[in-house]
Symmetry: C2
Subunit: 153 residues, 2 copies
DNA sequence: AAAATTACTGCAAATGATTTGCAATAAGAG
DNA sequence: CTCTTATTGCAAATCATTTGCAGTAATTTT
């Protein structure tokens, strides 16, 4: 959607970095992909277009994006210790993960602000960020499961 | 607080398991510890009382507790990929982590229910759990930082 | 446009957290 | 107290991610 390739190019230029074939490929995949891939998933997708691409390049590119605040990284409970990368730009948003197919859906809420404020008051702390993660079944998996239940009845 | 040692003993008994010295030690530390230790932290504490204890026993014990739903496991953004274990019993509660000292503070809120409901409606999904994590500075670190700022002024 | 500079890549080996196979040990039943 | 077998310590394996290094390819300079 938003042109990650452009934005990244500008930043690279301003810091003496180089726009390589590998980076351009990864940026554009991340940009168009409406998902939250793991490094490995991104690697597999990219590999179909450049069969010599290496996994460490994927990691290096993702870490660079992370430092530039162009992607955010998180570990969902379902994935245990594997990171997922989200190319959505800044705006604070939250996530739902389907415990069945691991699809991630983003959502917004203003209610977190109240939660932050209340926590700060009660604890004399200063809250800078916060995130909500919901788990459950997405529409598709819910439908499938209903189907399965009917069959088994 | 709640007697994890007791509860665990009952469950072990009912499944032909054994209450060993190592387990008793780990259970009681987890039970009294008002923190969210990593496996390594728990290991160091326990080691002071049993110098032959092995890290893999710590992991095995934690996983058993996790399966029994007596501890919950999560990865906070600040820790990257390292897990923290929480011996608090069932009730849904949420976490604040100080990005400076990594202390974890628990809190409650009823607002998450509204967030879940709204998400379900909008997405035809079924949400089973959800968790909120806040990041910022705790009271102590906030105080220290103010102090430091003053000194440096 | 070729040469020079050096950031970036692929590869292989290293790291850090967690897991697992196995032989030795020790709970708990009888 | 003996026997059975769940559990432990140890070392090696695994999984995700990182890093050193020598070769490659973007930019810059000439």
């Amino acid at each position: 959607m938003g042109d990650l390739v452009q934005e990244a190019h500008v930043r690279l230029r301003s810091q003496g970095g180089r726009m390589t074939t590998q980076r351009r490929l990864l940026f554009s995949i991340l940009d168009s992909l409406g998902e939250h891939p793991t490094a490995e998933e991104l690697f597999h997708i990219a590999r179909q277009r450049d069969s010599t691409l290496n996994l460490s390049t994927v990691y290096r590119t993702l870490r660079w994006l992370e430092n530039e605040n162009l992607v955010s990284t998180r570990v969902f409970a379902e994935d245990r210790r594997q990171e997922r990368f989200d190319a959505a730009l800044p705006s604070e948003h939250h996530h739902f993960m389907c415990t069945n197919c691991r699809t991630v859906i983003e959502f917004d809420t203003e209610l977190l602000e109240f939660i932050k404020l209340r926590f700060q008051e009660k604890n004399d702390a200063s809250v800078t960020t916060g995130s909500i993660v919901l788990y459950g079944l997405c529409r598709n998996c819910l439908r499938t499961e209903r189907g399965l239940n009917q069959e088994s009845t």
